[in-house]
């Protein structure tokens, strides 16, 4: 098998195939950086055009877009607190406070290096371990996936920081939104009011830009026209190569987040946002100064960005071997493969090794290219955006958001929905409701519900099906540790304090 990997290399190094990756990464960064446009959308727009291209050119562009967008999303998340993609929400936790303190340039450098490392790790795992990891995916039936979702939700507890009631209300709102649409198990439509557009549920981009992009964009319109360019000038930092040595201390976070990202990638359905949230939490828990997190801790940016790139290539593992994509982007990429007659399954590796392994190399090259293309060129040019007068910037963002949302399915209905969520987001912000639990609730709500019901069907109503496998028990154990550890630690600390008067 590893021989086939090397055999695929010369083809990938052909200039057309290399150029495709470069173009993909650059456009991916742009797409990711523009709120409302996402990798999923860019690739689905691209797919019809790839019909006439040679497979590796098409796939190289997709791999590039995927990796580029996962980093690109961090640019507005850091500079404007508007996550460019769903996976960049966790990046804004520490990235934006850093920008406010004048360290936005450094935040972006951390983001690009972490993204590249996450992507490289993920690509190497895809190249070397795809078949054995596919076996891991098979261990996860509905019961096990349900527990993964519970594990993800338990991390909501940590995102609440501050007002617990408001945090829970936000999470409940996210879960509610996730339930809208046709229920595949009973066949009933839920909260669709007879609208066909709502039958497939609410696209996460619609919710994300409504809550996250519109309110700050409106905020920009409210600001005075005079330019505060201080942020932008301070942003132009030194070369990325001189910044890297200073980041080497993050190696533990990089390693941990890469593993989390890769693991979330091989599980069907969870995706980059969950990887980023989980990894941010874990990194904070392991940190010696958890109180700094959320107020501009560079390691927080490193954790989120490593994880959301580390699930790119690994999400292709179940997609290529089992036909079940690990993320929404992997799902559209699967379509791109299908269009070239590449059908997922074990046969794919035997019948088209040069393309499959070439595709894996392209993931690796795309991740490496991120440092060169994202490091200075893209970051500095996007930073210039901050020189624009605020109201103009706000107007541009609003226009882009609507174009992006319209292009998901080509219908105005989604634009109106976005506007509705924008109003909700505006008031949530004014009333100090936290937004991240909404996103997590949307991603995990239906995911948990559906898998719980499937598991109970399989057990024919017997709840013990939920803890009948070792895999389930391990995840339950992990969840308990995550939930109980902080409480126990607090108790111990209290007792100690009581003992020492």
């Amino acid at each position: 098998m590893y021989g086939a990997l090397l055999d695929a290399l010369p083809e990938v190094l052909g200039w057309a195939n290399l150029l495709a990756v470069v173009v993909g990464v650059l456009s991916g960064i742009c797409v990711g950086a523009l709120p409302g446009l996402s990798a999923t959308m860019a690739i689905s727009v691209l797919i019809p055009f790839t019909f006439g291209m040679s497979p590796l050119v098409a796939l190289g562009m997709m791999a590039g877009i995927y990796n580029g967008a996962m980093y690109g999303g961090s640019i507005p998340a850091v500079l404007l607190r508007i996550p460019g993609t769903p996976a960049a929400v966790a990046t804004s936790f520490d990235g934006y406070p850093m920008a406010q303190k004048g360290r936005g340039g450094y935040a972006l450098q951390v983001a690009v290096v972490s993204s590249a490392l996450g992507g490289i790790a993920s690509a190497i795992v895809l190249m070397l371990l795809a078949p054995p990891l596919a076996k891991v995916t098979l261990l996860f039936g509905p019961a096990e996936i349900f527990w993964v979702a519970v594990f993800g939700m338990s991390s909501i507890v940590f995102l609440l920081s501050g007002d617990i009631v408001k945090g829970l209300m936000s999470a409940a709102f996210g879960v509610f939104v996730s339930l809208i649409g046709a229920d595949t198990i009973s066949g009933y439509d839920r909260f669709t009011f007879g609208r066909l557009e709502l039958l497939d549920g609410i696209n996460i981009i619609v919710l994300l830009v409504g809550l996250y992009a519109l309110p700050p964009a409106v905020g920009l319109l409210e600001e005075p026209k005079d330019i505060d360019a201080s942020n932008a000038t301070r942003l132009s930092t030194g070369s990325i190569w001189s910044a890297i040595p200073g980041m080497l201390g993050y190696w533990k976070t990089w390693l941990r987040s890469a593993i989390i990202g890769i693991f979330v990638g091989i599980l069907p359905g969870a995706g980059g946002s969950m990887a980023a949230f989980l990894s941010w939490n874990e990194a904070r828990r392991a940190s010696s100064n958890p109180d700094e997190w959320g107020h501009g801790e560079p390691e927080g940016v490193a954790a989120a960005e490593t994880a959301n790139n580390a699930d790119t290539a690994s999400a292709m593992i179940p997609a290529l071997t089992l036909g079940i994509p690990g993320t929404a982007v992997a799902a559209v990429m699967l379509g791109g493969l299908l269009i070239h007659g590449l059908q997922p399954g074990p046969m794919l590796f035997r019948s088209n090794p040069e393309i499959v392994f070439g595709f894996m190399w392209q993931f690796l090259f795309a991740a490496i290219l991120l440092i060169f293309l994202g490091g200075s060129i893209a970051t500095n040019s996007f930073a210039q955006v901050l020189r624009l007068p605020r109201p103009i910037l706000g107007a541009i963002i609003i226009a882009l958001v609507f174009i992006g949302v319209y292009s998901i399915n080509g219908r105005m209905f989604d634009v109106y929905l976005t506007l509705g969520f924008g109003v909700i987001g505006y008031f949530m912000e004014k009333l100090k409701f936290p937004l991240p639990p909404v996103v997590l609730g949307l991603i995990l709500g239906k995911f948990a519900e559906e898998n719980l019901r499937l598991a109970l069907r399989i057990g024919r109503g017997d709840w013990s099906v939920l803890w009948s496998s070792t895999t389930s028990l391990i995840i339950i154990g992990l969840t308990l540790v995550v939930v109980l550890m902080p409480i126990l630690r607090q108790q111990v600390a209290k007792r100690r304090a009581a003992r020492q008067p």
């Binding site: 689905s44 098979l138 996860f140 039936g141 595949t184 066949g187 089992l322 699967l334 379509g335 399989i458």
Partner: protein
């Protein structure tokens, strides 16, 4: 009176204009509406067929695929049903899904809303069990399922699709009662099956052929064995006369001018006879079988009757 004459004249003129237009057909861009996202099975079929249609319609025809995803294809097919019947709007059509939607949802179309052109894909259902399972024949399957009602758990894709209708047929024929576990698609259902989380699964042949090492294919629901998997016995061979499958084809709005309809039917027939077309369809995982015009309409009626019967006996929602 005057008005009637005027109307008659108007109708005549329009009809003549229509006839002239039909002779020139196609002189404009033809749009094929696909009710699913780019890259899905139906989309790939439409994009594979499009260049062959262009070639055999002649007249420098251009065929453009337009994706209108949503509501499991219903948004797209409704658009086709309500479009101008001039031959410049065609659409993909999935059976039994599109007809089942007229039963389990409120739909703005019915079986009479279309001019039936060609069904090109017939992807027979297969019964599969995990590779680790020792159930590999219908006999063993029926034995296991008869132990107690609901003992057999069945992974399949959503309710009201070909998988579901097929399962109902199987339960009737074998006099068993199974536990339905409807996943959000065939791929997750197949994965749960490969992991041994469910007892058996119902998918389509094209979804099984790449996984023959990890799955037991108990039987295929077609009249004859398939070239794609010649070792898999049919259900009829094992004593159960059941055929069923997922169908994909092309329709136009009802009331298409006859001449235009004929041109399209000819083009589909010529495309089908082209070995290159057959090859392109097979390589994208589409088992081809052509059913043209009236026969396609009958096929649709058959599927609707089947779905109606099942819906009335055992409504799935």
């Amino acid at each position: 009176m005057k008005r009637t004459v005027f109307t008659a004249a108007l109708v005549a003129t329009t009809a003549m204009a229509g006839a002239v237009a039909a002779q020139d057909y196609p002189s404009e861009e033809i749009e094929v509406i696909v009710g699913y996202s780019a890259g899905g099975g139906t989309d790939v079929m439409a994009r594979t067929v499009a260049p062959f249609l262009e070639e055999y319609l002649g007249n420098n025809a251009t065929v453009v695929v337009k994706n209108m995803p949503g509501a499991s294809g219903q948004i797209g097919v409704t658009e086709v049903a309500t479009a101008e019947p001039d031959g410049y709007t065609l659409g993909t059509f999935n059976l039994p899904g599109m007809m089942a939607r007229t039963l389990d949802r409120e739909a703005d179309y019915d079986a009479d809303s279309f001019t039936y052109l060609a069904n090109v894909v017939n992807d027979p259902n297969v019964i599969v069990t995990p590779g680790s399972s020792d159930i590999d024949t219908m006999e063993k399957l029926v034995e296991a399922a008869s132990e107690e009602p609901g003992a057999m758990t069945v992974a399949m894709s959503s309710l009201g699709g070909d998988d579901h209708l097929f399962l109902v047929k199987v339960q009737e024929a074998t006099d068993t009662e199974m536990t339905v576990v409807p996943f959000s698609g065939s791929a997750p259902a197949r994965t749960a099956l490969m992991g041994g989380h469910v007892g058996m699964g119902i998918i389509n042949l094209s979804e099984a052929v790449n996984f023959l090492d990890d799955l037991n294919v108990v039987g295929i629901a077609s009249e004859e064995r398939s070239d794609l998997a010649p070792d898999v016995p049919t259900l009829a061979e094992q004593g159960y006369e059941i055929t069923n499958g997922g169908l994909r084809g092309f329709v136009a709005p009802d009331g298409l001018p006859e001449e235009v309809e004929q041109k399209l039917l000819d083009a589909f027939q010529q495309a089908f006879d082209d070995p290159e077309f057959q090859e392109a369809m097979i390589s994208t995982g589409n088992p081809v079988r052509l059913t043209l015009g009236e026969e396609f309409e009958e096929l649709t009626q058959e599927q609707l009757d089947l779905a109606t019967r099942i819906w009335e006996n055992t409504p799935w929602k």
